[in-house]
């Protein structure tokens, strides 16, 4: 109510965030793990007889790395920020005001990362060997600290821990229950992705099978730590998840398109399957490096991309219906307001700031409730579309359903009066070509309620 709601068509604001974020996460993980890869490969090349050759190849890797991570990585990172302001300004504001100096410190790591990477890359021909190794290590350490910081804010949103709006305990919020498992999972995933990128660049070695084999085997080894340790870490992470999330997961094994929160389970299994596919693919690459070509290597990275899609969607959906769990609902309703029935039962539009003087029970009444209360998560005919979800609504059913919106705990409670509910129902019914007015919806609902009450009086047992 505080901020206007961005009604992005088809995708909806949240999917815009997700698309940018999923791309960014693959690249940012590469940006950090790749630092470790550069450092280890530098040290390795110093010990090898064909070190000069390895470094020549490493220069190719560094070029790819530099362009890919700075162009796509840095900008999509800023892009996430742009998109969350649009999708959830209230939550972004809260995070910014609580963690502004954490972000500012992360910015110091950005400047550090960039500068050190440029000194490393542009000093390729003039720097001493020792300096190059030092710069690569420094790059990795600085870059990893950016993860160290952003991970606190990311995990805070799902498991704020002992933090509350009153105590503002930044340490408790930052090092929240999900912080460490998540940090370790991401760190290992970074190495894995760096290895896959190494394989990709290795496919550009032409006419020297032995050298290609050597580099691919070296790169494939970077998958091993994640393959062994991530399953255990996921179990740890699992135990930090809120109970309601786990309950959604259990309920989500079956069912499709509506009702259940089955997405949580589907995306979890997408992540697991992708993990298995990467382990298989990397084994294939290590087994027959000769057979690896560009499409092979790109496929491996794409598997990592869909795996990240699974894991990140899981993390986001696990928070549903909150944007900051237990504090702020996705549609910018504060938990403390949600518990206050006087607040919740006020006429919605007259209280809404972003109300262009819409008359109550007018044709636009319902549309504005949709725009301000539903459109943060839903669209009309795209992502989580309401046209489909309300296809079987009758006037009375709609009014009743909206009243119990939060019953399944996957949506926030509805704010507003009976008239507001009738207006919103009328809006959806109109979309389905049923030209009822809010007043008619209200009348039909009340008729049905009266009939029910009468039936109850006549036969209390049967009406249940």
């Amino acid at each position: 109510m505080n901020y206007p709601v961005w009604n992005f068509p088809i995708l909806g604001g949240s999917l815009v965030v997700a698309i940018i974020a999923i791309i960014h996460i693959l690249i940012s993980h590469l940006a950090i793990g790749g630092g470790a890869f550069l450092a280890v490969a530098e040290i390795w090349s110093n010990k090898m007889a064909d070190g000069e050759r390895i470094r020549k190849w490493l220069h190719k890797f560094a070029t790819f790395f530099l362009v890919y991570t700075t162009v796509f990585g840095a900008i999509t990172g800023v892009g996430i920020w742009f998109s969350i302001q649009l999708a959830s300004p209230e939550a972004t504001s809260l995070l910014i005001h609580q963690f502004v100096f954490a972000w500012a410190t992360e910015w110091v790591t950005f400047i550090g990362e960039l500068t050190v990477l440029y000194l490393y890359y542009y000093g390729w021909n003039s720097n001493s060997r020792r300096m190059q190794v030092f710069l690569a290590v420094a790059y990795f350490v600085i870059a990893w600290f950016s993860l160290f910081i952003i991970n606190g804010i990311l995990t805070f949103m799902l498991t704020p821990g002992a933090w509350t709006l009153e105590n503002k305990d930044i340490a408790a919020g930052f090092f929240n229950p999900g912080y460490f498992p998540s940090l370790f999972i991401r760190t290992l995933t970074m190495f894995l992705i760096a290895g896959l990128a190494g394989i990709l660049v290795a496919t550009q070695i032409k006419d020297d099978e032995a050298f290609k084999t050597k580099i691919i085997r070296f790169s494939a080894k970077w998958v091993i730590p994640a393959a062994i340790l991530v399953p255990g870490l996921v179990v740890w992470y699992w135990f930090t998840l809120p109970e309601s999330t786990l309950a959604f997961y259990d309920a989500g094994m079956v069912g499709v398109d509506g009702g259940k929160m089955e997405g949580l389970a589907r995306f979890f299994w997408l992540a697991v399957t992708s993990g298995a596919l990467i382990v298989m693919g990397a084994s294939v690459a290590a087994w027959k490096p000769k057979a690896v070509h560009l499409a092979t290597a790109i496929s491996l990275l794409l598997v990592a991309q869909v795996g990240i899609m699974g894991a990140e969607f899981f993390r986001e959906m696990a928070r549903k219906p909150y944007v900051i769990r237990g504090v702020l609902y996705s549609n910018a309703l504060w938990q403390h307001n949600a518990e206050n029935s006087a607040y919740m039962n006020r006429p919605y539009l007259s209280e809404a700031k972003w109300n262009p003087e819409i008359e109550e029970m007018s044709a636009e009444h319902g549309e504005w409730i949709y725009r301000l209360q539903c459109a943060t998560c839903h669209t009309l005919d795209g992502y989580r579309d309401l046209t489909y979800r309300t296809r079987n609504w009758t006037p009375a059913f709609g009014v009743r359903f909206i009243e119990k919106l939060d019953e399944q705990k996957v949506m926030p409670p509805f704010q507003g009066t009976l008239k507001d509910r009738a207006a919103l129902t009328a809006y959806f019914l109109n979309i389905h070509g049923n030209p009822v007015t809010p007043a008619q919806v209200l009348e039909l609902y009340e008729q049905e309620e009266r009939a029910k009450a009468a039936a109850m009086n006549a036969n209390p047992k049967e009406a249940n």
């Binding site: 393959a227 399953p231 094994m253 697991v272 399957t273 993990g275 298989m280 084994s283």
Partner: protein, 167 residues
């Protein structure tokens, strides 16, 4: 010992060790791979795994007996094959006038047994039970599962038999 000899010796002793290490690592990697593939295949197992069978006695703890009416077993010494919750059942009234019920699944190979007046007989492998359900001859290794049977509103119902003895 000269340097080169030392080297040689070191190499010689390393080789089998390296080979062993290589084999171990390969096996370990294989193990991790198999574990991952297993995890990914879990949904297929879960899809095929049988759904939990609903409790035949339902929420109120009883099941209606099908195809046997109280009149069928009114006199002592009568009995009949019937069904409950899509399983087979035998209800009989013994010489003492007590109503008894047994799940008709033979404890030997799972055929449904038949009430034959003085005994309960299994046609598949010729096993016999007495009218208390005890296995008296033939292959059956165990007595039949007895159920508690009672009449209610003109129909027969069965429920789980409370264990008589404890400890």
């Amino acid at each position: 010992m000269t340097e080169s000899k030392k080297e040689e010796k070191k190499q010689a002793s390393d080789e089998p060790k390296n080979e062993k290490r290589r084999k171990f690592l390969l096996a370990a990697a294989g193990g991790v791979g198999v574990a991952w593939v297993g995890a990914a295949a879990y949904p297929v197992y879960k899809y095929l795994a049988p759904q939990p069978v609903p409790d035949p006695f339902g929420e109120d703890g009883k099941a209606l007996v099908d195809k046997i009416s109280p009149a069928d077993v009114a006199r002592p010494g009568t009995g009949k094959n019937g069904g409950y919750a899509s399983r087979g059942i035998i209800v009989l009234r013994n010489g003492d006038g007590d109503l008894k019920a047994f799940d008709s699944k033979c404890t030997h190979a799972g055929c449904n047994v038949e009430f034959q007046g003085d005994k309960i007989h299994c046609n598949c492998h010729g096993g016999n039970y007495d009218l208390t359900g005890k296995n008296i001859s033939g292959p059956p290794p165990k007595p039949l599962t007895e159920l508690k049977v009672f009449e209610q509103d003109g129909a027969l119902y069965v429920s789980r038999l409370e264990p008589e003895k404890k400890g």
